[in-house]
Amino acid sequence: MNKPRHHLLSVLVENKAGVLARVASLFARRGYNIFSLAVAPTDDARFSRISIVVDVESSPLEQVIAQLDKLINVVQISELHPAEAREAELLLVTVSVDADRRAQVIQLAGVFGASVIDVGIDALTVMLAGQPTALDDFENVIASYGIVELQRTGRVALPRLGASRGTSVAGLSAVAN
């Protein structure tokens, strides 16, 4: 089996100005490809968590992690294996609908557990949160209705309960306070 092309890194960083730019510019100058990236503060206001899906065809994961770890503001890096993580992503999509198709889209959204969050005369905006693969499926199906605009957040993840706490590949295994 081919090795997976995408790896999810969960990167705990100090919540300081310019940290995202440091991470992004590191990826740019070393030629690493980011597939998706999501960032927000953690429950501890001193830190933010960046979830990065790395395209490792551009460079070995180990090298990406070692270079990231050199950034002074990067506190901890964990690789989350899909089997040991709970991943989630959010999708917003505006679909053009005429009168007959409106009900179909609403029904389809229901099947996927998505909710309609905005209704216009000839369009609907639907939101779906869930596993990235479920979002892929929904996106494929909804595409046939005519997507006006679509936005996904990139995935975030935490280790699965009961599974090992992800692989802490660099940095502290627990953040000291």
Partner: protein, 587 residues
């Protein structure tokens, strides 16, 4: 005690033990230059900020302490980017303070505004934009800590003008809170044990010593490890002097212009013990063909270097000195078992000695060049001869600084390096113009030592104005220009790989008039055209201790640097001096 941010900055530098800084003022840094008048710190006024940066590097190179440079915003800051990048590539600890426009003006394209923290993100180990005067002592302490620990490197602190003027209550942090910065130091014992077994099993081992040995003060340990195990050592361009060239186990420099024995020893080794070296492309040549039979032990303080280029059998993230000492401790008990008997490497050492005899560094005598009709009317000087004479005429602990080009390679080959921290050059970035200001910084750091710069005519023209700084500040450096009238190294590539189609590499030997230029800058200027004049001119220069000296050595333009591994080729395809080419087939 209430201080302005500017006063706090200068006091922080004093508290850090800074004794000298190199800089050039301007609008945004003006508030900081006022307390400099009353400070114990010596300020040396450079004539260009790139020069200030290289001076700080030269100082750091020879003292092992961080060099400090201070410049204004905008063009002052961008002018020092080259020095930062140079220090980044060669892991030199420097701290650069830049002025910045007032915080309210940031982002408005204000006069002399440049996003210097953004610009230098990729060429500093870390940088800081100070937004509050109260943060200054903490940030300065962090900056010095980051620059000097782990893998050393340059850092930059950007200080907006209004922050310099703000009042703050002075303090000095007693601890630093940097949860993301944990430089490694000690090696893992289990890995040392694995490495020791590889060392005992090896029959064609080579120690591949890099700049990390010098930075970790690991030279004495390196000598002990080599002597304990009998393993020969190559010293890279950044590690010349890490083991004295006169040491019987020192094979000299490997790489693109390394000597035949050092290059070939690595190619044929069954074990490479890389200590603080990074498998740079100038050392490995074509990576897939590099040292194909060798197992690798790789010690580096930067984890990202382990496996970046070559996957080691044993990778050890640690300070090079501590790892070397740990290896010694692990191996010492094995002397009693006889596992380290020197005859285990007899065949290998015999092979190395034969290569050294067959393929010493070689160059034509002037007579040979003339006979072959290769050179012009004068009995032209051989640059290698100038360097050998210089070495023979200067004290053992002379500090040698070089620019970038052929002269740099001749200096690294033909000088006899006997001490760590006595060789200052721009390895990773290859920055023309490095040598004059770096020599000034080195002389400031080691006023007791004689400092000679070996420079190219092209390089000299990039930063020569810093000799004005040297004259004004009475910093008596000595500069030997190997004036071949060409951008010689580029000419060499055009000679070898572009069918001698010389494109934009001619400079002229007489324009500028180097002697006149040197004298106008307050130096003594000398010109040397024949071999007989070399020794006396150097003697004369050595006597002068109250001002800088520049000697314009007119050297043979046709001279090429040998050996050479063509770019991208395997190290097996090393090109030796033409006089030795016929011996290659036989070896």
């Amino acid at each position: 005690m209430q201080l302005t941010g500017a006063q706090a900055l200068v006091k922080s530098l004093e508290t850090q033990g800074v004794e000298v800084m190199f800089g050039l003022p301007g609008g945004a840094i003006l508030p900081v230059y006022d307390p400099i008048i009353d400070s114990s710190i010596r300020h040396i006024l450079a004539r260009h900020e790139q020069g200030a940066g290289h001076m700080a590097e030269g100082y750091a190179h020879v003292t092992g302490r961080p060099g400090v440079a201070i410049v204004t915003s905008g063009p002052g800051a961008t002018n020092i980017v080259t020095s930062l990048c140079d220090a980044y590539m060669d892991s030199i600890p420097i701290v650069v303070i830049t002025g910045q426009v007032a915080t309210a003006a940031i982002g408005t394209d204000a006069f002399q505004e440049a996003d210097i923290t953004g610009i230098t993100m990729g060429v500093t180990k870390h940088n800081w934009l100070v937004t509050n005067a109260a943060d200054i002592p903490r940030i300065v302490a962090e900056a010095f800590h980051v620059a000097t620990t782990g893998r050393p490197g340059p850092v930059l602190v950007d200080v907006p003008k209004d922050v310099s003027l703000q009042m703050m209550e002075w303090y000095w942090p007693d601890s630093l809170d940097m949860p993301g910065y944990r430089p490694p130091s000690k090696p893992e014992p289990a890995l040392i044990a694995d490495a020791a077994e590889l060392i005992l099993a090896a029959r064609r081992p080579v120690i591949y010593a890099g700049g990390g040995v010098i930075k970790s003060s690991g030279s004495p340990a390196l000598a002990r490890l080599a002597e304990l195990t009998g393993i020969p050592v190559v010293t890279t361009l950044m590690a010349r002097g890490a083991l004295p060239d006169s040491h019987p186990l020192c094979l000299g420099m490997p790489g693109m212009h390394g000597n035949y024995t050092a290059v070939t020893a690595m190619q044929q080794a069954d074990l490479l013990i890389a200590l603080g070296s990074r498998f740079d492309d100038r050392v490995t040549g074509k990576v897939s063909a590099f040292a194909p039979h060798a197992k690798v032990i790789h010690v580096d303080i930067d984890k990202a270097e382990i496996g970046k280029v070559r996957r080691p059998e044993v990778g050890i993230v640690a300070d090079a000195r501590l790892a070397t000492e740990a290896l010694i401790s692990a191996l010492e008990p094995r002397t009693v078992t006889g596992e380290l008997r020197s005859d285990r490497l007899e065949d290998w050492m015999g092979q190395l000695r034969r290569w050294q005899e067959r393929f010493p560094l070689a160059y034509d005598s002037p007579a040979e060049s003339e006979a072959s009709g290769a050179s012009g009317r004068l009995p032209l000087l051989k640059p290698q001869f100038v360097i050998e004479t210089l070495r023979a005429s200067t004290p053992d602990d002379t500090i040698l600084v070089s620019g970038v080009g052929q002269h740099q390679m001749w200096a690294s080959q033909h000088w006899r390096f006997e001490h760590p921290n006595s060789w200052v050059n721009s390895g990773g970035l290859g920055t023309m113009g490095f040598s004059v200001p770096a020599a000034i910084g080195a002389k400031v750091g080691r006023p007791d030592a004689m400092v000679w710069a070996v420079d190219g005519d092209g390089c000299f023209q990039m930063t020569a104005q810093e000799l004005v700084t040297a004259s004004a500040e009475r910093i008596p450096v000595k500069v030997a220009i190997l004036n071949n009238a060409y951008l010689g190294m580029v000419r060499q590539w055009q000679h070898m790989f572009y069918e001698e189609r010389y494109s934009e590499v001619y400079l002229s030997a007489d324009l500028p008039d180097y002697v006149g230029w040197a004298e106008s800058m307050g130096c003594v200027g000398l010109k040397v055209e024949t071999p007989e004049e070399v020794g006396p001119a150097i003697e004369k220069a050595n006597q002068i201790d109250d001002r800088p000296v520049v000697i314009d050595f007119r050297t043979d333009s046709m001279e090429q640097v040998y050996p050479m591994v063509p770019a991208g080729a395997s190290n097996d395809d090393i090109v030796v001096h033409p006089s030795q080419a016929s011996r290659l087939a036989a070896s």
